[in-house]
């Protein structure tokens, strides 16, 4: 117990990095997911086919593999192109890898959500002289959240848990700090359990917030 108190500040520093990575991943991943969803719904085959291929592939391989490719492969590419030896930072590699995974899954969620908005609404918008962009921003976007939020919420929960993987390539997150504490105190069970409980707390808090967001996003719909 004393050890846990001693290491508490260190673990909280790690938690900050974990949360920072998770939030940045979702921010980048949402934009990527929207872009991929639009590409998939495009009438142009040269745009939709690669988008489907890439997201299907990324969803079919381990997140851990994506992370290692970006981390080691990124350094390899930089070395070959720039001719100097630079390492990709673990944070950046984690951000890119997790955003790619998040974006791939989110693109499917968004695609389903866009299809749930009746086509007639967009046609009505166009008939009133809205541009395609205005239709997207003012008619489709506000309505897709209602459908997309449960799916995106699950993806957020997955992303928080996936950040633990980045500790393997050396990111100083909650998981790595727990590793260090576990090794130097020889109390691995206590520290890993503590890390698990923190992750559980994030999950529970997220569940409450997501339930509220969902309620807010569907306030325009009458409940039967």
């Amino acid at each position: 117990m004393q050890n846990l108190i001693d290491y508490f500040p260190l673990l909280m520093q790690g938690l900050k990095i974990t949360l920072l990575l998770a939030v940045s991943t979702v921010a980048v991943g949402l934009v990527l997911g929207l872009a991929l969803a639009m590409a998939k719904m495009s009438r142009h085959g040269w745009l939709s086919r690669p988008a489907f291929a890439v997201t299907n592939f990324l969803r079919g391989i381990p997140e851990f593999l994506v992370l290692l490719v970006i981390y080691y492969g990124g350094s390899q590419v930089l070395n070959d192109v720039l001719g100097i030896s630079v390492d990709v930072s673990p944070f950046l590699a984690g951000l890119v890898a997790l955003s790619l995974v998040f974006g791939s899954y989110a693109s499917e969620t968004f695609r389903g959500a866009f299809q749930s908005v009746p086509k007639g609404q967009v046609e009505a918008g166009r008939a009133y002289g809205f541009t395609a962009w205005q239709c997207f921003r003012l008619i489709q976007l506000p309505q897709i959240w209602k459908v997309a939020i449960p799916g995106l919420g699950n993806l957020w929960q997955g992303t928080v848990k996936d950040t633990a993987l980045v500790s393997v390539i050396g990111l100083d997150d909650l998981m790595r700090k727990s590793n260090q504490a576990a090794q130097s105190t020889r109390e691995p069970f206590n520290f890993y359990l503590f890390a698990a409980l923190i992750f559980l707390a994030i999950t529970l808090v997220s569940m409450v917030i997501l339930a509220r967001l969902e309620k807010r996003a569907s306030r325009g719909v009458r409940r039967s």
Partner: protein, 231 residues
């Protein structure tokens, strides 16, 4: 292209043995997980508050924490306790292979338990009532009516869970197991060709994903034939 062929030439056998270990981990923990998932699902539906509470806590813990933490908790964590080290099970619990199997089984059981719970709730009430009316005991009703029906209802959702389990087995490489991911890490650092090596591993993983979804589509066609007729 030539570089890729060279790697396959030099490490082809390693990729194969790694893939074989990955398949082992998926099949064994998939089966064990399913066996554990049945009581978990039933306990989650139990009206006994203690039983319900324990099952809910179990399910929440394994679904709400990273798989990596769970692996470390079991592989590194258990050794902290003297009574574990002194027990007759220690020679097994010390093995990374056994720890990986335990973690993956418990993890997938938590997810499959939730899926199965949904399936049990989706069994039409009339079928259960008919079974009871024809004199089946509660146990027989579960064995012959509710569970088989629930399994066929959850088959599509369960195939996703098996794919997630397969992707999760990549983490076994963090506790020294040389499954597909572990083998690729070795090959990548030996050849200084991470992109090619991990690319090959990615293709193998993707083929495994395709194989799993094909397998479950076949199972669905076989076991859900009666639904196709009704439709």
């Amino acid at each position: 292209m030539q570089a890729a062929l060279d790697i396959i030439n030099a490490y082809g056998w390693d990729f194969l043995t790694g893939t074989w270990l990955t398949i082992q981990l998926v099949v064994i923990s998939g089966i064990l997980g399913l066996v554990i998932a049945v009581p978990v699902a039933l306990a989650r539906l139990s009206e006994n508050r203690l039983v319900h509470g324990i099952a809910t806590a179990y399910s929440l813990f394994f679904r709400g924490t990273p798989l990596l933490v769970q692996i470390f908790l079991i592989y590194f964590g258990l050794g902290q306790f003297d009574f574990v080290r002194d027990s007759v099970l220690w020679p097994f619990l010390r093995e990374a292979y056994v720890c990986a199997l335990i973690t993956f089984s418990l993890n997938t059981a938590a997810y499959s338990g939730e899926i199965l719970r949904g399936g049990i709730l989706a069994v039409p009430r009339g079928e259960v009532e008919a079974a009871r009316a024809s004199g089946m005991s509660t146990f027989t009703t579960y064995r012959l009516v509710i569970l088989p029906r629930a399994f066929s209802i959850v088959l599509p959702a369960y195939s996703n869970e098996v794919i997630i389990l397969m992707k999760g087995t990549a983490l076994a490489s963090t506790i020294t197991l040389l499954e597909l991911m572990g083998m690729s890490q070795l090959a990548a650092s030996a050849t200084y060709q991470p992109i090619l090596v991990f690319g090959i591993a990615g293709v193998i993983y993707y083929l495994l994903t395709l194989a799993i979804s094909w397998l479950f589509r076949t199972l669905e066609r076989r076991y859900n034939r009666y639904l196709a007729v009704a439709r």
